[in-house]
Amino acid sequence: MKQIGIWILKIIAAGIMLQTLYFKFSAAPESVYIFSTLGLEPYGRIGIAILELIASIAILVPATTGLGALLAIGIMAGAIFSHLGKLGIVVMDDGGQLFIYALLVFISSLILLWINLHQIKALLYKITKVKLILCFIMISSINSGNVKAQAISSQPKQELMFSTAFSSSQATASIGYQYHWQLGKKKRWEIGLGLRNTSAFSSKNQYITAPAKLARSNTIPFLIVFADQLTQNWDTLEVQRPFVNALNLMTEIKYHFNKKFSVGFNIDLIGVSFGNSSSSILTTNAISKAEINTKPSKFNLLLTGDLDKGSLNSEFFINYQLSKRWGIRAVYQYLFTEFTTTSIYQNAPDGTTVYQFRNKANNLGIGLSYNF
């Protein structure tokens, strides 16, 4: 009897989300209206539709119901807040139908989460375990270098990594050190924490207005990635000889398909940048201003999308293990670099002055890893 009840809840939650997906993916006028009002059209509409699809599938699969419900709660909380705020409860004369749907999914997911709380607990336990080890290692490595070897029961793995990547406008080289923890029964997953320096140089490069509130229509963390680009607010700073070193704390997640192949993603979290001063030119309506002391922005911090500060590297890679120690990898790099001007600045349409300018580059390259 309880099982039937659970399945009814699953069908309500997943069913409602799945049937609205059609409208989102097919750009139905209601969906487009909603996401335009929120300033998230079209990437937000598609991004949230994809998240809802993931949540629906996860809810229907027994092993991941709790996680799916948690994701659905997050999405629906956003939806309910939007209805109570900008959108209004009644959207395009629907008599509040969409709002009630959102509430139904929210409540069903809440119950499903409650029933499957053990799934979340198990995951949290794993994460906390990693965190505790991490803290312990940080503390013990400050005290003395060798204590950690005895202190952890799991298999630590150290890695040196090198990569170089290019695009038509930029060349980069990075070098880093990482400490890995293996997760899962079969130890296929690895989480790493490390330090990486990424050097980026180009002959001449375009940097655009960096502050998130000018660059994007929406500045909610994570969702900003899907927000409209406000190109009318952008000015372009051409840095003549950019050279940035971004030294950042970074994290990585990696999955091993087998002994030879693995895929992973890493991203810089926080750090500092240094590099040469360069001359730069800011052009507004064909009138240019130049200065000679444009410098890389000193402080880097990951806050997602255009909220980011400074210069941050992230890489997707496919790694092939040549030997036990050496691996070679194909790298797709998404690199933010940021420069700060000294005497020239943009007068933004909202009346603020802008000294920070950002370049986002998609680079392709190769890398090496050495494990010890």
């Binding site: 003549q240 000889r241 030119i281 240019s288 090496l368």
Partner: protein
């Protein structure tokens, strides 16, 4: 062996990224200026600290269509040479008229019609990337 191939590939990648050619052409340019009405605004080029430039800069205005004419220009070559109309001899506030078309000959550059020519007294041949002044003409 694998490592050797890798090293070669990386080196080729790095080298090819650094050898971007951006010097100015040196073909003798003879753009026609016969039909362009000259104003009295002109000046002769003088050498800057980083190059040698000779020739004359003229301003032409026809139906509010503004042009800068560099007559019999002769400039030393360098990377990323641009033609500027600038308020200062060392450009801080300026209009970028584009890349220098050739280091010798007569050439014509369009100026945005909104530009107040009285504010921009200097025609410059400027190496943009390294911020080096090759030559300047004070237009009076």
């Amino acid at each position: 062996m694998k490592y050797k191939i890798l090293i070669v590939l990386v080196s080729v990648g790095i080298l090819s990224a650094c050898t971007k050619q951006n010097a100015t052409p040196n073909i003798q340019l003879m753009e026609s200026i016969d039909s362009l009405p000259m104003t009295s605004m002109k000046g002769n080029f003088m050498n800057g600290p980083f190059g040698t430039v000779s020739g004359t800069a003229f301003i032409s205005v026809i139906n509010n269509e503004k042009k800068l004419i560099l007559e019999n220009l002769n400039s030393s070559n360098g990377p990323d040479l641009h033609v500027y109309l600038s308020k200062e001899i060392q450009p801080i506030n300026f209009i970028d008229l584009g890349k220098l078309k050739s280091i010798n000959g007569t050439q014509v550059y369009s100026i945005d019609s909104n530009v107040n020519l009285k504010d921009y007294k200097f025609a410059l041949v400027h190496c943009q990337q390294f911020n080096h002044l090759f030559g300047s003409a004070n237009i009076q």
